[in-house]
Symmetry: C2
Subunit: 324 residues, 2 copies
């Protein structure tokens, strides 16, 4: 049975993804900090996805999807319109299989990120920075080349790939009372929901979200998915709206949410830098910030925290006045 195209992936899809990415992705370590445990009042198990290839969990979903394609599909290449961590992840995954990768990039994208994507061998295609223009450019590229679209978070194959991080976390840390993940588009969140639902149904799933892009929290509270917002947060990886299939999976999973402001996220980021010596980006630190903001919800528990990525622009963070 071929699960890849099913709307809502299952634990089997996550297990298949784990087998598929094993030769290519890192099994990242699970880190501990007694100093931060003491501050949080619980036992924290940090899944170090900032040490994943390309510096973010995104490589899991991209790699799993690229290697799930038939030889005929693969020969026509892959395409996406993310100019962030997913673009770089897809570029490296495609290079690993020796196939073409097209990335539609907005004209206002960060040059350093474009250089990284091009450095992995992808072809860049410039478009106007609106979502409509980028999706139209993607569609045109798909028609012309026959390349497979790999959406950064709505694609069920991508979700299943992201779920492998939670799989490894539980494998290394043992049973957990809760797992906290950052939520943006919801690829990691949905993948984690699927992995936990199948493997550890007693483990609570907690979504950490910046106050300046809190559509997931509002959507799950009201039961109606928020379809527009103007994000305002330092967490550049979490400015995306929660995807429709992601929303459904998280709703079914009974995911809890904790919303934190950027000051709390940046304080948590500095804590991880100073105490753990791990260079994580703000979009990662939001998960620890959520635990520290609501200690009564984690008191004495065994808690997994997925550090989602480490592609931080250090001088911009310091010069932006984000340091006391």
């Amino acid at each position: 049975m071929h699960h890849a195209a099913s709307a809502s992936p299952t634990l089997d899809d996550v297990l298949d993804a784990a087998a598929r990415i094993a030769p290519h992705a890192h099994a990242t370590p699970v880190l501990r900090s007694r100093a931060i445990d003491a501050m949080a009042g619980c036992t924290l198990h940090f899944k170090a996805e900032h040490l994943q290839r390309t510096g973010a969990f995104k490589f899991r979903g991209a790699c799993s999807t690229v290697w799930s394609l038939s030889d005929a599909e693969a020969a026509r290449g892959v395409v996406t319109h993310s100019s962030g961590n997913h673009g770089a992840a897809l570029a490296l995954a495609a290079a690993g299989r020796g196939i073409a990768c097209h990335v539609v990039t907005p004209t206002d994208a960060v040059p350093a990120k474009l250089a990284a994507i091009a450095g992995y061998g992808a072809a860049l295609h410039r478009s106007e920075p609106t979502l409509a223009a980028r999706e139209a450019a993607c569609t045109a590229l798909q028609r012309r080349s026959g390349a497979t679209l790999v959406h950064p978070y709505r694609d069920p194959r991508v979700m299943a790939g992201q779920g492998t991080a939670a799989l490894e976390l539980i494998g290394a840390a043992g049973p957990l009372d809760a797992v906290v993940v950052p939520v943006g588009g919801g690829g990691l969140a949905a993948g984690t929901a699927i992995a936990l639902g199948g493997l550890a149904p007693g483990t609570r799933l907690v979504l950490a979200e910046p106050a300046g892009a809190d559509d997931a929290a509002r959507s799950l509270r009201t039961g109606v998915r928020v379809e527009a917002q103007t994000p305002d947060t330092v967490c550049d990886g979490l400015r995306t709206l929660l995807g429709a299939p992601n929303f459904e999976i998280l709703q079914r999973a009974g995911a809890e949410t904790i919303v934190v402001d950027d000051a709390a996220t940046l304080a948590a980021m500095r804590l991880i830098w100073q105490r753990m010596k791990q260079l994580v980006e703000p979009s990662s630190a939001v998960a620890l910030a959520a635990v520290l903001a609501a200690p009564e919800r984690f008191a004495g528990l065994r808690v997994g925290v997925i550090l989602s990525g480490g592609n931080a622009d250090v001088p911009a963070l310091v010069r932006g006045g984000h340091w006391p």
Copy 2:
């Protein structure tokens, strides 16, 4: 036989130290980076001492020395005059044995570092910032309390403790052609020389030193120890003059030296931050900078690099204009 007081420690002393610190110190991981290997043209095995307790290798020597004391000696406490990583390390080591720790601190010390030392429970004693004033204050404290002086790098017990990092590195990485360590006072360098000399005599010992404090390189070149310099380097852990016993050990070991300027060290530091997501301090990065500055000396080899510490003042480094 009691080795602790011998002027030049042996491999047995390092092995004793390893057994002594095992219940207290972290066996830090050895990290790899295929991106940096490709740039360096050799295989690099990074011993992650920035992940050691207190964020630096210094805890090894301090801990080993504290636990080498007799109960009667220990009851009278320990004293030192380092306000940097060694002061924090000795404070935590003393706290672990439940004994008093006195740290003589210069009036111009960095408040954050003093707070860290006090946070581990040590008593701070202020003195004028000259070496003579600090040593006099130490001697007075010793007389009054009977506390044992634990010198940051000249003490053979401390050297033996620092040598345990190389022991673990070789244990984890296997045979190495060379090991590169930063050199300041020479505690880590001498300890590494002793460990390698006994365990892996074919492994070259390479000392990495900042150009603005290159007394070790000049001393080893001329055979006469430099006894005064005005250090000018961003590597705050390496401004110290090489100690006399340390010089003798390194001379006997035939240690090579590579001198690098601060710009190269800071570029190497940024590389470790960006590629490895590890927050190391400049005094650590000097070792990678040395490899990148002299690639012909390492081409194709298996090279160990000791990342000595991670107590970096990130905003000061960015604001100091040390970022492109």
